[in-house]
Symmetry: C2
Subunit: 374 residues, 2 copies
């Protein structure tokens, strides 16, 4: 009697992720015509990609690669499946600002405007780097976006607290893909303007917007100086009543500050505008959205003539962002992994004991882990 | 006839670095009683550790480990070989500040004071993160420290430009060990107060000092806000003539700002003082040095009672710094190495082409490089 032996290296490919059915169901649900099913599937899919369980992580990878293969989020020139949408792919907008700028009320006002007046679907992903330390929650308090959270065309999802990369969950990027799959036209990624997280969010979105209150001096010092160099637009919020003169002043200050910044896009394709908004009365909300639409139109139609590749500027930006994020992840997790290894611990002890310099210790660790792959 | 086979794993240890003689000569030169030989050997040794040539790098590692083994820079409680010195090991002082603060003139004045009035040897290591971009040089223009550079008790060495880690050469740490070996009692590490480099320097020295000019407002905004949280002292330079009132005002401002900072050392062992100095007239230079000496005295005699380990606070700080630097190096160089590998390039292309998400791409890279070492 002969036995057919399965080569060892094939064994892993034979293993089919358990509950593949579940992934197929999620996939079908995300692309379904039923808005409620899409919404439920999106929630489940985000939960799936947020897991650290190895088997579920495999399922998540399978789901994401299936979506990418089917063309979701593939490129900007491809039409969205949703006919109602004028967008070609979701516009990803990052929103940051100091505490007290009224980010949540602005997002509520903007989200309501986009869904009700423009008939578009809006997803809100909130990144909260502070919650792991202070316990404060950005969107846990759902009542802050009471109106929007009852809106069937809007989807609100807080990101898990903590994690690496300045509070931006690795999954925020992947959540964007899921939201696009589920037919959301606009994705608003909210973050608190503290620490390094806002830079990370700038590397994640198409358009990076700073929201500030109409108060100068001390309050504004909470904004990192570098931020102004990477913003695509500034919203001066709370521009109502007595605060209008102050808001005008701030608007002028930011406009002149932005003049001195080097352009963020080739051929001066985009100059960051500064818009005054009252989230309370709704003044300036239409202008804000118009500016966002115009950003998207321009950067998807203009190509980077310098390189002569004929690729839309936004497409190029997204490609760069994907690469950048991959390396952010590698850097973060690789070190985390290595630090847990016995060998690294031994070398670390040598450096602590002054038996090796930090440089030679690092050499030993790198040689050990990359040695045969150099 | 029997053959004795050398086990393969021993082969590498049998290889003796070529020109071992050269290293032995450097070692002997660094520890020699002849001040001129010490100085020449120090220059050669720093050049050796700055090389990237693999064989010379081996020699540098051998020299450093020989010095560490012989007790140089081993611990703070051990007496220095130089009997003239009141220091037990070199005091490493980091000096940062915005351009125009007069860092070089302050270092010249302080260095001259320490060598002439206190009879101590001073080494100046200058880190210049800007030179790779702007071509400007911090100390290349040696005439800026004309007096000090002619002083036989002083040694001035600019760091190589460029490099990673925010312009702080990996070798700055190792240069400190060489300077200690050559009998320098005080090491001044100078950096420009731009970018991230000043934080890195803070992780490299015992005492981190900010030098500022007596000018408020715009000029001061060049200093990163975070800096004030990590300084051990502030020097208000150019406090002479008409500028004295402005310098007094700045002094008060910094003193009150520092009050709100959390303590950097356990048991409130050190409160950062703010000293007004005129590098021109020499006013305040003695006070600056007194403050530095007092910092060293306090932090080498006080132990961290919280941990009950009975270790001097400064010793603990240095241990933490060594570990931190090792991981800085690993993080920086590991990624650099991996990025050059074909496998990483292939995955990177998959992410660019949207065939994989940044997260799953990172997973693949980590699995590939750490796979069998997990």
């Amino acid at each position: 009697m002969n036995f057919i032996r399965i080569p060892h290296r094939l064994k892993s490919t034979i293993k089919i992720p358990s509950q593949t059915n579940r992934v197929e169901k999620l996939y079908a649900g995300l692309l379904s015509d039923d808005a409620i099913l899409r919404r439920v599937s999106l929630s489940k899919a985000i939960t799936l990609i947020e897991t650290t369980h190895p088997v579920k992580r495999k399922q998540a990878e399978y789901l994401l690669s299936k979506l990418l293969k089917s063309g979701i989020s593939r490129n900007l020139s491809q039409n969205r499946k949703s006919e109602a949408s004028k967008m070609k792919t979701a516009l990803r907008i990052g929103l940051t600002g100091p505490p007290g700028a009224g980010k949540s009320t602005f997002i509520e006002a903007l989200g309501t405007y986009i869904t009700e007046k423009k008939g578009l679907n809006v997803a809100v992903l909130a990144v909260d780097p502070s919650s792991s330390k202070t316990g404060g929650s950005l969107l846990g308090d759902k009542t802050r976006m009471e109106e929007l959270s009852r809106n069937m065309k809007a989807y609100i999802r807080p990101s898990p607290a903590g994690g690496t990369l300045g509070g931006v969950a690795r999954t925020t990027f992947e959540s964007c893909i899921l939201c696009e799959a589920a037919g959301y036209d606009v994705i608003l990624v909210e973050t608190v303007g503290v620490g390094q997280s806002e830079y990370k969010v700038a590397d994640l979105v198409d358009m990076f917007t700073l929201i500030i209150p109409p108060a100068g001096g001390d309050e504004l010092q909470g904004i990192k100086r570098g931020i102004i160099e990477v913003v695509d637009s500034v919203i001066v919020n709370k521009s109502d009543g007595d605060l209008i003169p102050a808001a005008r002043r701030i608007q002028m200050e930011y406009l002149s500050a932005l003049k001195f910044m080097p352009p963020n896009y080739p051929n001066h394709a985009w100059k960051p505008p500064v818009v005054r908004v009252s989230s309370l009365s709704g003044d300036g909300i239409d202008q804000s959205w118009g500016m966002m639409e115009s950003f998207f139109e321009k950067l998807t139609s203009l190509t980077d003539k310098d390189t002569g590749e004929g690729m839309a500027i936004l497409e190029k930006k997204r490609i760069k962002q994907r690469e950048l994020w991959m390396w952010h992840h590698v850097q973060d997790r690789l070190l985390e992994e290595i630090k847990t290894k016995d060998f690294a611990r031994r070398i670390s002890q040598k450096v602590v004991d002054n038996d090796a310099t930090p440089g030679t210790g690092a050499d030993e660790i790198i040689r050990h882990f990359l040695g045969d792959k150099m």
